[in-house]
């Protein structure tokens, strides 16, 4: 066997190095140096992100291990996008990780986080279901541990157990589906499956496909596989929640697209389009309907992220390069918007321990900057120009409609009408902060830690610039349309 093939996995290796550095630092450094773990991780990871970003231009499509693993411009781009997100999460988590409860375990937090990221890399690059499953599991199991991180909070444990049980269940269902796919096609290579499944629709294969989709839909928290989301988001530590809500979603969405395109490509496109129509409509609508009532900010954002996942799936169903690019762009923008929101929530939670929307009443009077950042995040999530969210939404709709069928027009119309509902509940937050004043215990004016402020500044800058500055979208789109995974469309 040719070990040089490992060299193809540049980013994975880079990530492993970061992981090892953090691990060694955490293990062998003297006690007092441990206070710097968080900073150390951030710095190292920032360096890694920068490097991998610079390598992006030099990156060309290579596949290793007889095609089990493939990386290319598009894959490295999405990985870089995830890196940026993770970096922001790390920065925002610093304050929380340094709080006295976590002081002993913060090293583990970073190590687990990096491991899950590694798993997501594998999910993205996998072209063989074995590798994919490994990636999937190593992306989800450590998360359970991270969700359970707040030992002193009961909610944390409840969230963890709900997460692990449903996760294992869904992976069982997923692998069941896989076993049938294997039985029908005789291979676990995407390309072989693509070749193996005939044009005719067999019930068994359709069921198998449904099982597989459910497995990934679970990670994307598509309705009806989303039920864990709200509880887990609410129970988990805010940093973990933000990580869950953006990074794993992004990775899963991309992997989903890869599987659908490469394994169940054209021959079965009709089948999974049917399923996706149903799933998307359900996801957007139910997510919105649940979000309307929520008072707990984290739970609220959980449901909003459910409906956002629906919008992300529009990029998948578009089934073309514009759709792919729009999806990646959407993920990027979504990372920034959502992390801005979670950054504010985390800052307030760390300072005052309040997470309810009613506690935010009159926030603008006391903490104008924070509420301003929160408002930008909300507007961006709601898709209000000139913030990035507007562009991502517009482009993902454009990409979807490019597919051109009448059904897609109906779908997009439903999605658009749902944006009104979503606008409603995003405005509720703005209303609480800017308009509502009746609040006996207003959140006092406080100065959030510099790490939190740094994170917020980054995200706000992203929200303001990602849309107006057309460079990001243009480069993504040019990259996707010039090769990448869509070649065989």
């Amino acid at each position: 066997m040719d070990y040089s093939q490992f060299l193809a996995m540049k980013q994975e290796i880079g990530l492993l190095i970061v992981f090892l550095l953090v691990f060694l630092y955490d293990t062998f450094m003297p006690k007092k140096a441990l206070n710097a773990t968080a900073g150390f991780t951030c710095v190292v990871f920032a360096i890694y992100t920068l490097v991998s970003f610079c390598c992006l231009s030099a990156c060309e499509t290579v596949s290793a291990f007889s095609g089990m693993y493939t990386t290319g411009p598009v894959m490295s781009t999405i990985k870089n996008i995830l890196n940026v997100g993770v970096l922001i999460v790390l920065i925002q988590a610093t304050q929380w990780a340094n709080s006295e409860f976590q002081i002993m375990r913060r090293g583990e937090f970073y190590e687990l986080l990096l491991l899950t990221l590694f798993g997501m890399y594998l999910m993205i690059s996998a072209r063989h279901f074995l590798l994919f499953v490994i990636g999937l599991e190593s992306a989800s199991l450590p998360l359970a541990a991270m969700v359970a991180f707040d030992k002193q909070h009961y909610e944390s444990h409840e969230a963890a157990i709900k997460y692990i049980l449903t996760a294992v269940f869904s992976s069982a269902v997923f692998m069941m589906g896989l076993s049938f796919v294997y039985g029908l096609t005789g291979s676990l290579y995407f390309t072989d499956i693509y070749a193996g499944i005939g044009a005719e629709h067999s019930v068994m294969l359709i069921m198998a496909l449904a099982f597989v989709i459910s497995g990934i839909g679970f990670k994307l928290s598509l309705v009806p596989f989303h039920l864990w989301t709200a509880d887990v988001y609410q129970g988990a530590p805010t940093s973990v929640t933000s990580y869950l809500s953006v990074i794993s979603k992004g990775a899963a969405a991309f992997a989903f697209l890869v599987i659908l395109v490469q394994a169940f490509g054209l021959a079965y496109s009709q089948v999974w389009e049917w399923m996706l129509y149903a799933l998307i409509i359900l996801t957007i609508t139910v997510g919105n309907l649940f979000a309307i009532r929520q008072r707990n900010m984290k739970r609220f954002l959980a449901f909003s992220s459910v409906s956002q996942a629906g919008y992300i799936m529009l990029g998948v169903i578009a089934f073309n390069t514009t759709g792919l690019a729009s999806m990646m762009y959407y993920i990027l923008v979504y990372i920034f918007s959502n992390l801005a929101a979670f950054g504010v929530i985390g800052a307030i939670e760390n300072a005052t321990g309040k997470v309810n929307m009613d506690d935010y009443n009159g926030l603008y009077k006391t903490n104008p900057k924070l509420s301003f950042a929160m408002m930008l995040a909300m507007f961006s999530l709601a898709g209000i120009p000139p913030f990035a969210g507007f562009f991502s939404k517009f482009f993902i709709f454009t990409g979807a409609i490019q597919q051109g069928s009448t059904a897609i027009y109906v779908l997009v119309l439903i999605a658009l009408i749902n944006t009104i509902i979503s606008l409603y509940y995003y405005l509720l937050v703005v209303k609480a902060m800017f308009i509502n004043t009746e609040n006996e215990c207003v959140i006092p004016t406080f100065r959030s830690s510099c790490s939190e402020r740094l994170g917020l500044w980054i995200t706000v800058a992203g929200i303001l610039l990602l849309g107006i500055v057309s460079f990001f979208y243009n480069s993504i789109l040019s990259m996707t349309s010039s090769g990448g995974i869509m070649i065989d469309l």
């Binding site: 199991l141 541990a145 692990i164 269940f169 069982a172 676990l188």
Partner: protein, 103 residues
């Protein structure tokens, strides 16, 4: 008499269904974990059987099974750990009591 694939698939499917049934009916979380194990093992059987009967040429199914077993073990370990935590906090492992966060 000669054993066809069906003789293995039907039990594995049965196991899977038992697992699902156990998951949704048992109160005790340990029991639920066992049901999950049943489901995963059903998957393993499927892979092995398909590999053995349909595609004896390569070993993909077998390898997948090996990895799946490992993953299952990891999951169980993690789940047990969390359950113990819960037991510490709530001194109870009835899954139906674990519903403080809802709606």
């Amino acid at each position: 008499m000669e054993l066809t694939m069906l003789y293995y698939l039907i039990p594995s499917l049965f196991m899977f269904c038992c697992g699902v049934y156990g998951f949704v009916t048992r109160k005790n979380m340990i029991a639920i974990l066992i049901s999950l194990e049943l489901m995963l093992n059903a998957v393993d059987i499927n892979f092995v059987v398909f590999n053995r009967y349909l595609f004896p040429g390569n070993m993909e199914g077998m390898f997948f099974t090996l990895f799946a077993i490992a993953i299952a073990a990891a999951e169980t370990a993690l789940a047990i750990a969390i359950i113990i935590n819960i037991f510490r906090v709530a001194s109870d492992i009835d899954v139906r009591e674990i519903n403080k966060m809802k709606f």
